[in-house]
Amino acid sequence: MVNEYNHETPLVMHIDLNSCFASIEQQSRPRLRGHPVVIVNRATEHTGIVAASYEAKALGIEALMKLRDVRRLVPDVVAIESDPAKYKYVYHKLLAIMQDYSAHVTMKSIDEGIIDFHQAPASIQQRGLETLGYEIKQRLAQEVGVAMRCNVGISTNRFLAKTAAGLHKPDGLDIITPDNLHRVLGDLKLTSLNGIAWRNEARLQAVGIYTPLDFLAASEETLRQIVFKSINGTKWHQRLRGWEVDDVPTKMGRVGRQYVLERFDLTHQEILQRLHHLCESVGWRLRKQGLAARGVYVYAKSAAGYWHACRVMALPFFSNKAIYELAKQLFSEAPSSIKEIGVHCYELTNDEMSQLGLFADEIAHERAVTIASDDINERYGERTIVSADTIDTGIYVSQKIPFGSTRYM
């Protein structure tokens, strides 16, 4: 198979909701349709936008631009604060539609997922993926709303299916097979390929690979030994030819949250309160996954640049108190003029594996208090019980969209 293309019937479908959060807002508020809309996590001028509607994109607005720059560019842009509960609902509707066709559905993020039809019933496979793709688009409009559109890409592996889904936005449906692979890749840039950002682009260009077609023409040996200097070169060689190399489960490596400060003149104590809030949120997420951690990583972005500190403990911990105590100690070295803070727990282990050491009684007590608080928060709503230190921070550090992960959905 070294240089062969995968000629099997394309049975992998990638579905990508177009301008997901902005479309959901335009769906829920009909009078926003046709207006340039951007979604922000907080209505402050220095916040970055997390999504833009197609009307906004047509005017040059892109995700991650600062709201103040967006307003300069398009003064009548409508900025809407994100509403995670709404996006979560649409995510589950999309997931339910996808699961009607195959048991093998993988959501890659809140707005995109993959259906693997290899083991789908014959009655489904026989209908053809193109027909099913159009049906899914129709169902999305009927079951969620007419403003919701999605891109569908079909191919023999996840990489080419995702590439196909990006060819004609919005509302496209494309299929990539060995017959049109050269034509499709011929119209793309290297950085249009998922997984090729500037660093990999530079690696490829260093050996004379300037286009996706050059990439496709490169030998497996060149990619493995010279470009990527690892098995990744072999994987790219196979991936580009339609062989599946990306169907691997991802292991959760860390649990974290970050927060861009609502004002840049907060006192150290006020910043610590927000850090404490993040620790409570991270602790809650950790425990919901049945995990404990051994490591805490904190960072701060300031005028001076990026600062971080971390520490790994001998025994696992999972309570908000333990996470914050460690984070607070680490944060004592943080610089001034901070604009953004973050905290991550890592070295994750199954909570049941937690060992009780010399301080067994103390740990057992802390565990009991934590579990009781979680039970109350579960029953009466998140943040019903919080540390007195973070009572007032909820209006600032509210729960936001979980990008890039669906584990908290």
């Binding site: 769906q27 508020r29 009078r31 409508v78 509960a85 969620v144 709303g145 029953r379 009466y380």
Partner: protein, 87 residues
């Protein structure tokens, strides 16, 4: 320009319960000041858990403004929680 007014107003609602996209369709509602709003489109209905309690959010429009109605599934009450407009 987008304006959003947060409210917490109990309203009288006429709703249809029938199979379909939203299952429960508010048709019109009467505000405290007596004004009647006839709903021309339900944008989205989504559930919002408040702990063990469940509130159903209905984002609707009468063509002139967008409204958010919340139906508390435990207490069986309707509240108008937002009025918004864009121009």
């Amino acid at each position: 320009m987008n304006t959003e007014i947060e409210l917490n107003e109990q309203v009288d609602v006429v709703a249809l319960f029938r199979p379909g996209r939203t299952m429960c369709e508010p048709i019109k509602f009467r505000r405290k000041n007596g004004r009647e709003v006839v709903i021309s489109e339900i944008g989205l209905r989504h559930p919002k858990p408040l702990g063990a309690r469940l509130v159903h959010i209905f984002d609707v429009t009468d063509g002139g403004a967008d409204y958010r109605l919340e139906f508390d599934a435990e207490h069986l009450t309707w509240r108008l929680t937002r009025e918004a407009d864009v121009w």
